[in-house]
Amino acid sequence: MPKISFVHPGGESQEVEAADGSSVMRAALLGGVSGITADCGGEASCATCHVYVVESWLEQVGTPGPDEDDMLDFAACERQPNSRLSCQITINEELDGLVLGLPESQ
């Protein structure tokens, strides 16, 4: 199973196992990562699963679709060029080792 690391704003890192085909958001919830709120349960409706993709993974992870792009502008923490909603990132083997930063708040 691919492993994904979440880096909290304070710097500590938390690694979770992620099921192929599931979303990064769900992997975070099931792995007990506290910085992901995901109020809507992964239906791209709330923008509370905001993450920052580390530079070296940007290409692999890809860019947001138009709806996600619109929503990111209204995330609780300021949008960066590497911002994504983690419910919209589907896990595959190629994302094994992915590192994501968590915002201060959702």
């Binding site: 919830l29 792995g31 007990g32 506290s34 239906e43 929503m71 209204f74």
Partner: protein
């Protein structure tokens, strides 16, 4: 162990409260008692991606099994709270256990309103609330040719889409003159009416089922609507919910279509709060409300967690902006704020394009926004409503207006202008 927080109900509200208490560092005991056999799970997908088969059952869990234990949350499933002893600050559970509380939170939720006729109990008449309900419906849908849906609210119409995509002949019967009447404007209703027709569903508004005909196996096989008899294999009833207030009533708390709470979500007993679907709370703009939504459950839970954990004893009243979402007919509908039927409407974008927002106004001021496939508008609207921005109907009707620019514009200018327009109106 000294008494801590006891939470009745392990749905979205109850689970969120337990999690928030621990996130805020609450050190006392936290006990969550739920009557369902499962740990807390997401309900919204039950009428959408779970029925479609896109989402598997294990993925419904709010958190993994060990999560609660690891955080010192005592999660008691398949168990009901049978009584509250307010004099002793104790609750009694169906297993016989007695748990003392310093603070009790009722998050008892709601149950489906049943059809008030004998056919309501037929074996192929279904309701959707629990994972068991959804499992049964999913199983039966696989073999159903003719599906009848009673009620054109969120649940009924979400199910209509799923059933139509399964290739069933879908008929929706709604007593009100239009679909989603409780939730949206006539404009948005008309859009979804068309969308469901395009998916092949027959939506009959202002109509009721005159007769359910059952066979000897107590299955509904035919219904009569306006004199016409239609064959039926599966009936789904989505006609609203009834709040679970019995426990509160028996304990002598004030109840009025919901457990009545004050602006800090405290019941008529200062040691007992109520949150989520079961709670009737005061709203500055609309008397009082009892909302049935994930947002309401989660935000009220977070609020009560903050209130319980606060040190200085002062916390502002609960006042989060309500929001809702629904996926149906391939569209994403999102609603920010609460409109009343008489509120006026102005549409941004063309419904024929499949991407538009209907802004709703009371006394010329923006109170709610219904967005179809415009999630940016939805979040912008939530931002505007949350900060109490006075956006006028006149502003919205000006050419070039966008919710996005209003939400990102420097605040003072916009608000001052709105004030001015309001006073000159």
């Amino acid at each position: 162990m000294t008494a801590g927080v006891v939470i009745v109900g392990a749905g979205q509200a109850g689970a969120q409260l337990a999690m928030s208490l621990r996130e805020l560092g609450y050190a006392g005991s936290v006990t969550v008692v739920g009557d369902e056999p499962h740990p807390p799970y997401h309900r919204p997908p039950l009428s959408k991606s779970f029925l479609d088969g896109e989402l598997a059952e294990p993925e419904l869990a709010l958190r993994p099994e060990g999560f609660y234990r690891d955080r010192g949350i005592d999660l008691v499933t398949a168990t009901a709270v049978t009584s509250i002893d307010r004099a002793r600050n104790e609750v009694r559970l169906s297993c016989g256990r007695v748990v003392a509380y310093a603070h009790l939170v009722l998050a008892t939720g709601a149950r489906n309103r049943k059809l008030p006729i004998a056919a309501g109990a037929a074996s192929n008449v279904h309701y959707l609330r629990t994972v068991e309900d959804a499992r049964r419906v999913r199983h039966e849908l696989a073999h159903a040719c003719n599906v009848l849906i009673v009620g054109a609210g969120f649940i009924g119409l979400e199910f209509a889409s799923v059933a139509a995509r399964h290739g069933a002949n879908v008929t929706v019967v709604e007593a009100a003159p239009r679909v989603l009447r409780r939730a949206v404007s006539a404009e948005t209703s008309a859009y979804f009416d068309n969308r469901h027709a395009a998916e092949g569903s027959t939506v009959l508004c202002g109509r009721a089922v005159d007769e359910f005909r059952s066979d000897s196996n107590a299955r509904v096989t035919e219904v009569r609507i306006e004199g016409r008899v239609r064959p039926v294999d599966l009936v789904l009833v989505g006609i609203g919910v009834v709040p679970n207030t019995e426990l509160a009533e028996e304990a002598g708390l004030v109840v009025n279509d919901g457990i009545v709470v004050n602006a800090q979500l405290v019941t008529s007993d200062s040691a007992i709060s109520a949150i989520g679907d079961c709670a009737r709370y005061p709203r500055p703009d609309a008397g009082s409300d009892r909302l049935e939504s994930v947002q309401n459950a989660s935000d009220q839970a977070r609020y009560v967690a903050r209130r319980i954990c606060q040190v200085d004893g002062s916390i502002a009243d609960y006042g989060e902006v309500p929001w809702f979402w629904s996926h149906q007919a391939g569209d994403k509908l999102q609603i920010a704020g609460l409109a009343l039927p008489m509120d006026t409407a102005a549409t941004l974008g063309a419904p024929s394009s499949g991407r538009f927002s209907v802004c709703r106004f009371r006394d010329g001021i923006l109170v709610a926004v219904e967005s179809v496939n415009r999630p940016g508008d939805h979040l912008a609207a939530r931002k505007l409503l949350a900060r109490g921005a006075l956006v006028t109907e006149r502003q919205v009707r000006e050419p070039g207006f966008s919710l996005r620019s209003a939400a990102t514009a420097p605040r003072d200018g916009g608000t001052a202008k709105a004030h001015q327009e309001r006073t000159s109106a």
